[in-house]
Symmetry: C2
Subunit: 275 residues, 2 copies
């Protein structure tokens, strides 16, 4: 059984003298990718807190805030016994409906995911810092699946001197390569097949990775083979800066891809060695 | 004697098991207003930390970052024995020279002080949250002298669920009414006399405070009596919102004033009961 808390005060009281705390922030609709984060958390802490909160601040107009899957009972049922679940109402975190003071993600927050989703990363960082201030964990665990999110959370921890360590877990995939995502639930059977174009593009980039140009060419060919996947971007970025790598870059880059499949927007990423 | 720390790691190590910590963030050039904050801090905590850091992020182009008074030895000499001083170099807090992820003060951050000093409050909140994350105090002490700063720090604590209490100390004044400020050091003898227009305007507003209109009229007359004071703004704001109060407002408002005297920009504020 998990313990459930819905208010900040009750959770804070529970966490007094809770020893070393590891925290896994989620939006619920938990899958094996989330559970991998929770198991990492269990290994490094006395107490594990999983938040389940669909954060309105990080959804834009016309995005899927309304239809995002919410099933707290199902989520609690798949979590290991002993985990503390924090599932506040929106009014608990935003008593005024919004915040005046918020986080600003800076220039990288306007690229890639942020270009298609204006304000997304400001809203994401704002809720993450709120949750970190409520839980005050020793370590926070994120999934590499959301590479730009992970980059910006790392920057935030560093830039704002947040007293927390970050642990990043590798992406969990289906046997055929599809990265686990709560949004996979939106996919019809043919869409799920189309969605394989993302991981196929990353594999093609990895296999062809002599140079930036050869990796990009191979990935774009793989994406072109699934014309119903509406590609938003494919690029290779420097993990240290999240800026596109130059043509002569040598070392580990991160290949990132985003595409719309039907009405569902999917993202994925993988390391690619160049040079 | 004070204890001096210049690095984050050394300060954090010193503050382990330091009991209840109270924190007074300053830019140095300490005067009796700062010392009043420190004495409040001593009363409520086992350990008192005073930071002395002239934060480049909150100064704009053409402002007084370069000439702002810096004298660490003099500052340490006036602090009570036992106080921990944290005086980092700029590179300790901004190893990259700046931050990518920062605080955004929102709409109120663009009014009054923020209108004249674009970005000032984003930079101020950013360094305050950094210092709070480094010191992790139980209580942070600010002076009411900087009313808009206090308003925004309160909002930040509330909006971001920062685990810290805030204590605000009343403004300390010279016998003739001039609010203590590190920037008073810039004033020549005649300028110091002119500077009394600010506190005179606040007194006039208090004395005439039947309505917003009568308070504003009285204050503007007092300011007009010192034509060499270059008034930036005088207004009455609601302490709950920092928005100008309506004409029929009843209750406690905050009268706020800013003026340039010579090359020195001064601010002051006082409570005014209306209605």
């Amino acid at each position: 059984m998990t313990e459930l808390f819905t208010t900040i005060d009750a959770l804070r009281a529970r966490l007094e003298d809770a020893g070393r705390v590891a925290f896994v922030p989620t939006m619920g609709a938990l899958h094996d990718g989330h559970l991998a984060l929770v198991h990492r958390a269990i290994q490094v802490a006395d107490t594990v807190v999983v938040s389940i909160f669909v954060n309105p601040l990080q959804f834009g107009e016309g995005e899927d805030f309304g239809r995002y899957p919410r099933d707290l009972d199902a989520d609690r049922a798949v979590l290991p016994s002993g985990v503390i679940v924090f599932a506040p109402e929106v009014t608990e975190l935003y008593p005024d409906g919004d915040v005046q003071v918020r986080l600003s993600a800076g220039a990288i927050g306007d690229t890639f995911e942020g270009k298609t989703r204006p304000g997304h990363f400001d809203g994401m960082l704002t809720v993450v810092v709120k949750l970190l201030n409520i839980v005050t964990p020793h370590v926070v665990v994120f999934g590499q699946k959301d590479a730009q999110q992970v980059f910006l959370v790392r920057r935030m921890i560093q830039d704002l001197n947040l007293p927390v360590a970050i642990d990043v877990a590798p992406t969990v995939r289906e046997p055929d390569g599809l990265a686990l995502s709560s949004r996979n639930r939106y996919l019809s059977e043919p869409e799920r097949s189309t969605a394989l174009a993302l991981s196929a593009a990353l594999s093609a980039a990895t296999d062809a990775s002599a140079t930036r140009e050869s990796a990009v060419t191979a990935a774009k060919a793989a994406l072109a083979a699934e014309p119903t996947a509406d590609v938003d971007y494919f690029d290779l970025v420097d993990p240290a800066t999240f800026l596109p790598v130059p043509d002569d870059f040598a070392g580990e880059a991160t290949a990132i891809v985003a595409a719309r499949v039907g009405t569902t927007r999917l993202i994925d990423n993988a390391p690619v060695i160049l040079g």
